[in-house]
Amino acid sequence: MGTYETLLCVGVVAPLAMFAVLAFFGHRIGKPLSGWVAVFGVFISLGCATYVLAGWLSATDKAALMATTGYDWVVLNLFGNEMPIQFKVKLDGLTVMMYFMVTLVSTCIFVFSIGYMAGHSDEVDGQCKFHRFFCYLSLFEFSMLGLLISSSIFFLFIFWELVGLCSYLLIGFYFDKKFASNAAMKAFITNRVGDFGFLLGLMLVFVFLQTFDLDQAATNFRQQYATQSGIFAADIDILGWHISGMGLATLMGIGLFCGAMGKSAQFPLHVWLPDAMAGPTPVSALIHAATMVAAGVYLVARVFRLLTPDAQFFIAVIGCITLTITALIAIVQIDIKKVLAYSTLSQLGYMIFGMGVGAWPAALFHLITHAFFKAMMFLGSGQVIEGCHHVQDMRRMGGLRKRMPVTCWTFFIGVLAIAGVGIPGAHIGLGGYFSKDEVLAVAYERTYNWEDRFGGHEKDDGHGAEALHSAAPANDDNVLRSGKVILASGGGHDEAAAHGASGGHHDDPVLAGIAAKQHKIPKWMFWLPIIIAYVTPFYMMRCWWMTFMGKPRDEEVYHHAHESPLMWAPLIVLAAGTFLSSYMMFRPQLGEAAVHATPAPLVVSVDGEVPGSAQEELLGLSHDKAKDPHAALIGIVGFAWLAGMGLAWLIYRNGLELAERIRRLPFIRFIHWCLMEKLFFDHIYDTVLVGGTKWVLAQVSRAVDTYIIDGIANLLGRGTVRIAEFSGNIMDTGGVDGLVDAIAESTQGVGEMVRQPQTGKIRNYVLFGTTGAVLVLAAIIAVVMS
């Protein structure tokens, strides 16, 4: 293993070590110190991350750095061939970026937690749970980083489950509160539902791609498509549902994506995330905003090369739905953490949507920027909640800027970032602006320019399976084009993008071929995100204003409010991160990571920063003025942030009265009610799923009871007798059991029967004896004669 891999591993193991220390000696180490132990661990990770990042950025031949050696964890046997499950460090741009981001954010949050938990950890019960909190955090850190560096889907799954466990433990940290333990359970089980799909995907990968290694899997996938073998030739029955070829490949993709739906809380599995806010605020910041929920997006990015056009389209739809409904719900929330939770959901929706439409780098870029500002805002809210003695209702806040300025303005930076503040045209803005812009740009391209660019000669087979079958290509060039296009907007760098477009690739048949196999994105899937791009600034501004600006609405709260350095220092760091994470810092790396993370020839370079090898494979956005998405977007959403925030300011600038009046408007009232009820998802699930399960359980338990207690005997109408006779008498108890019971019953019956002749009267004995003799004799004669 090379230095970098070793360092990454060290970075992973360090928190684990701290976990062990805290688990065994935590209660001795005591209150503030155990927190610092954890910080020490994660700090090591941060150090490693920084070193690796620096090395990576400076490296010239990055391919050389990629890990080669791995450790055989177990050796499976597949159709008689040995197939090891390897633990191998995945070292590429994406990992490095994510690794750095996670360690940085979590360091801040760990430090913040020391201050925060000092006040909160004692309320669990008599004894201090302080060390336990950091114990879990360290374990989470370990799992999360492990997830990032594992190059095998199997290990991805393992760490996947481990982060799930940590989230369970941390959501349920105040497990003496019913709602907390409920939320924890809800989170874990919802994730398990997703993991069920994940497992299905794993099994398909295992059997048909015959490897768990990400790169190897992708290679096999394309290979099999080339030869129309393996999964593309497969033809199986699942639950009586006949499925084959491309359909199966799609199923595999969707299955893997199901895992992401669970973790990233995508519709319809999004219900657990808002409840997860029951956990301590730092947890919400770290796990449920910055890192773990983003793991879903990371997973999609990793398995992107295994996704068929249908699967991608499915992903895009899911993302679109999620980002819309959750943003709408966010509008009406009055609990500050809930607002942030729903905005997180909405942003995750953007990322997934971006993945779905093929904006690979853009989505990940959005992931990273979002991680910073959302973590920051959560910590801010934590600060507020801490300061206001656990008041989370924004209606009782207001005017806090005087009490906690740092929090206020860092939070505002977050608001700007998520609102996508930037000056259209001139490329100035926060990370949120660029990332969201790129996603939308790609969506635009796929919606409006696609057919004109590529639809020409592939009008009618824009449909996954048929398309790929009909166009089952012979030559290797086309083989590689198993229908995946990654689009990255040039972020307005016209000349480069123009190079991408006018550089002859516009009518490059190869690219055209692939691109044409992509679905054309229907218009609503472009316009919904656009609308939400207007909504987002609104509710974030509303949240910020209600909390910090205006006049204090609750004196008591206002007077308590304060902020402590241990807690606002991290805010500063994250605020800085929010700026740095803007275009300059991460975006190019991701564009390049795309080269390794995706079928190389399909990567669309940005700003020509792609190694020459990939140059001629670029696929840019259209850039003739008529069609340029960026140009179009300037008009469409360029100033959405202004509109949204402005509207919020108008409504909330003097308190809540205006908002109240609006809410009372007849039609709005109904909408408001629906949104307050979170569009009834929980109700539906409660009635359908939980209720359904309860019903099933009722049936089962009744079945069990009857089965255990009297089973078939009950059918015989003997149930009551059975229980009455239940006096330890072997004959009864021995038989009291379903079929056995029936047998026992009948045996006893026969036993009784055969004892009837034993009347005690000798004459009867003689009679029976004689009769029996005659019968037997008759039998003999019958036998012998025959």
Binding site: M731, A744, G751, V754, F768, A773, V783
Partner: protein, 551 residues
């Protein structure tokens, strides 16, 4: 002197023959001694018992001696006026069974001493009857002449009737003996009637020759076949009564419940075993000589009856409240298991017959231990419980007096046939013998047997539950050391035999081999078998002279 010896008529037994049958003579001597003893030594139970044991010892001595002789000179027959078969036979099987009975007698005597000797003042009569029935049983196993068989069965039965009713003041005892007696008398009568018919058909009562001539008659079909079948079945009834095979088992539970427990123990093993071995010997001789065509029929009959017997025995034992009665039914079931082996026997073509016989021998040995132990404990317990033989009387026995409960446990589980007890190994030999016979009938029998094993578990465990899982405030039972030792010896032997079963099996094989089976001879003066077959049919029975003229 020499002429005097020359004067001895031809029918008078030779010295060698006396030697051959010295065990029986010694046995008879013992009987007479015990009968006369009270005149000399009074009626003291211990003295009488001692005398009986001495007699038994002497008998055993002669038995061993004869064993030695025939091991060198081969099986002997004798006391036979003319016919080849011989009225009495001394071969491995009969002698082994004699030894077995003698050992068992000792066990029973010990049990009797430790249970009933105290309040019993009819010691001489008891031992006379006991040893008398024993002699009858040993005779049953050493003949294959139907007349001798009838006599032996009666000889075994009459003392049994009496000994069942031995405690004269108990109502159930009297009732039991009456039932036993009547049922026995009926079956004996039927058997005799059958014997008479057989004699009519074949002109002889020697099984060998009957077998030699039965083929054509049965082949003749029609009425003859029917009548011969009827006659043979009538004879079979007599044996089935001793075995208490369904449907001739009715006497068994009543008699066993009514009798003293040690008597029950004696009858449950000895008389059944005697009946079985007799049956097997007869059927063996018969089938080996009669040839294959009759085998299948006989096999099916015995198999069917065996199935009925073990199944009915187990089922009826289900809800018994009296442990003696329960064990009586269990003894019926076990008789059924052993009869299954008899079914193999008749398939003389496929198996060496002695596999089956040795199986039964081994089974009988172990079965003797199991029943001696089980009934022994029952006897000891009920003697302290005022003759309460209900199962609940055993409640908590395992905790109050383990010295009785544990051997009881061993015996019961062994009766079920589960390792680590000898009951399993014998059941295993039985199944193996069935498997070796390798035909659908026997596989079916094997399955019947294992399923019966399962059924039987339930009622045996009832006792175990009472002993170990139930509480009781009863004080520990103190019983005579001799009885305790006896039952524990049985219990331990059961384990020992499982671990070292080879000696048992080897002996069983050795003593079941070398049966005395004479060469069949056709009746010379009756002409060939088929002429005989013509001479007999009913239609011309009316005019025997013509038949004679014809012949």
């Amino acid at each position: 002197m020499t002429e005097l010896i020359a004067e001895i008529p031809a029918w008078f037994p030779k010295a060698a023959e006396f030697m051959t049958f010295s065990p029986e003579l010694a046995w008879v001597g013992t009987l007479c001694l015990i009968m006369l003893a009270p005149l000399a030594i009074g009626r003291d139970a211990r003295m009488i018992a001692g005398l009986a044991v001495v007699g038994i010892a002497v008998t055993a001595f002669f038995t061993l001696k004869v064993m030695g002789i025939i091991s060198t000179e081969g099986p002997k027959t004798g006391l036979t006026p003319d016919l080849a078969g011989g009225m009495l036979i001394a071969d491995n099987l009969s002698l082994f069974f004699k030894m077995l009975l003698l050992v068992f007698l000792v066990g029973i005597s010990i049990l009797w001493m430790s249970v009933s000797a105290a309040q019993e003042d009819d010691a001489p009569e008891f031992f006379v009857l006991l040893i008398g029935s024993a002699l009858g049983m040993s005779l049953m196993v050493s003949t294959h002449n139907i007349l001798m068989m009838v006599i032996a069965i009666e000889f075994a039965s009459l003392p049994s009737y009496a000994i069942v009713g031995f405690n004269k003041h108990k109502r159930i005892s009297a009732e039991a003996s009456l039932k036993y007696m009547i049922f026995g008398a009926v079956s004996a009568a039927v058997m005799l009637y059958g014997a008479s018919l057989i004699y009519g058909f074949f002109g002889t009562l020697d099984v060998t020759q009957i077998a030699a001539n039965v083929g054509p008659v049965l082949a003749g079909g029609g009425a003859n076949q029917l009548l011969v079948g009827l006659a043979m079945f009538c004879v079979f009834v007599g044996i089935a009564f001793k075995i208490s095979a369904v449907p001739f088992h009715f006497w068994c539970p009543d008699a066993f419940q009514g009798a003293k427990t040690e008597v029950t123990a004696w009858l449950s093993v000895a008389s059944k075993a005697a009946g079985l071995l007799l049956l097997m010997r007869l059927v063996n001789v018969f089938c080996v000589n009669a040839g294959a065509e009759v085998l299948h029929g006989v096999a099916v009959v015995i198999a069917v009856i065996a199935t009925l017997t073990c199944t009915l025995g187990n089922l009826a034992a289900y809800k018994q409240t009296s442990i003696k009665r329960m064990l009586a039914y269990s003894s019926i079931a076990h008789a059924g298991y052993m009869m299954a082996a008899a079914a193999i026997l008749v398939d003389a073509g496929t198996v060496e017959s002695f596999t089956a016989i040795s199986t039964v021998l081994a089974y009988v040995v172990v079965y003797m231990l199991m029943n001696l132990g089980a009934f022994g404990v029952v006897a000891l317990v009920e003697s302290k419980n005022g003759d309460d033989d209900s199962i609940t009387a055993f409640a908590g026995l395992g905790w109050t007096s383990p010295a009785l409960a544990i051997p009881m446990l061993f015996c019961l589980v062994s009766l079920v046939g589960i390792p680590p007890f000898a009951g399993f190994i014998t059941k295993w030999y039985l199944l193996a013998a069935l498997g070796e016979a390798a035909s659908g009938l026997y596989w079916a029998l094997a399955i019947v047997i294992v399923i019966n094993t399962l059924i039987s578990l339930w009622y045996y465990m009832r006792v175990v539950v009472q002993m170990f899982l139930k509480e009781s405030d009863k004080p520990a039972i103190e019983v005579p050391m001799s009885g305790t030792l006896l039952v524990n010896a049985c219990g331990i032997l059961l384990i020992v035999i499982l671990v070292f079963s080879n000696p048992l099996k080897e002996r069983a094989d050795r003593y079941s081999a070398g049966l005395f089976s004479p060469v069949p001879t056709k009746l010379a003066d009756q002409g060939s078998a088929d002429s005989l077959a013509q001479s007999i049919p009913l239609d011309n029975i009316a005019a025997p002279q013509e038949g004679k003229h014809g012949g």
